[in-house]
């Protein structure tokens, strides 16, 4: 149980460190300057951003695994 809580805490901490975005991104937009026309445009740059969706997937999986382990050990104790 403690291990599960630790995993969830770490995952949420990672999410916050990536800026607390809602969706996980694999690319971000960066601004570039067009020197000839004095204008700006954007380009995609490969950059992973951990989002809340990943955080919730891992949290859900952790809760599921912890739940299974809890039931297994509880049954063993009963015997």
């Amino acid at each position: 149980m403690a291990a599960g809580l630790l995993v969830i805490a770490i995952v949420f901490a990672i999410w916050v460190s990536y800026g607390g975005e809602l969706f996980t991104k694999t690319q971000i937009l960066v601004e570039k300057k067009d020197e000839l026309f004095g204008t700006t445009y954007k380009e995609w740059k490969d950059h992973f951003v951990w989002g809340l969706d990943y955080t919730l997937y891992i949290t859900g999986a952790t809760v599921f695994v912890c739940g299974i382990l809890f039931l297994v050990f509880r049954r063993k104790k009963a015997f």
Partner: protein, 212 residues
Amino acid sequence: MKNILQTLFLTIVFAALTFAQGFQVKASGEQTFNFKAGGANQASFYSTTTLEDVQGLTREISGSIIFDVNDFSTVHGEISFPVLSLNTGIEKMVKDLRSDSWLDAEKYPEISFKVKKAVNIKKVSESKIEADVIGDFFLHGVTREDTASTTITYLDESPVTQQRMPGDLLGVQAEFFINLSDYNIKHMLLGKRVAEKIDIKVNLVGSNKVSL
């Protein structure tokens, strides 16, 4: 004498107004500018959702526009890009965007803007004008007339511009807004309600010596 002066005055005013509608550059007459996909050429959309804003971009935008250098109101042409080229940086969102519940890329593979004319032309400098460009915007099987606020910069061919591409160069920045419901598009993307009003921006650089 009075009539001659009046005629001369009217001619000068007419000439001034005509030049105010276009560029004062080396080229004259009708010019065709082609915009090839890639580089700084791109179209982007921006929308707000209840929890996070959505931004998408494509660099596979291409097309041509034709106009009289001295009278930009004559502008016409077409710019388009494939729906499949739109990217938001979020894989699941890109799949949703292409699906039949949103842009339906399979049924309507292209988004286009057919330029018809320009009005409210304002001269910023000899090589730069601002105008409202009117055209037909085609999206999700629906065509509607829209007006884009546009800034157009004309650069005569020079050693500096030749480093970019041959010929005279035309830089276009345009912005317009659409309502999703006008194009029969639902407001849900990845389970989040997207704003009805979408901000579309276009940045193009083309040449009159490059073919598509």
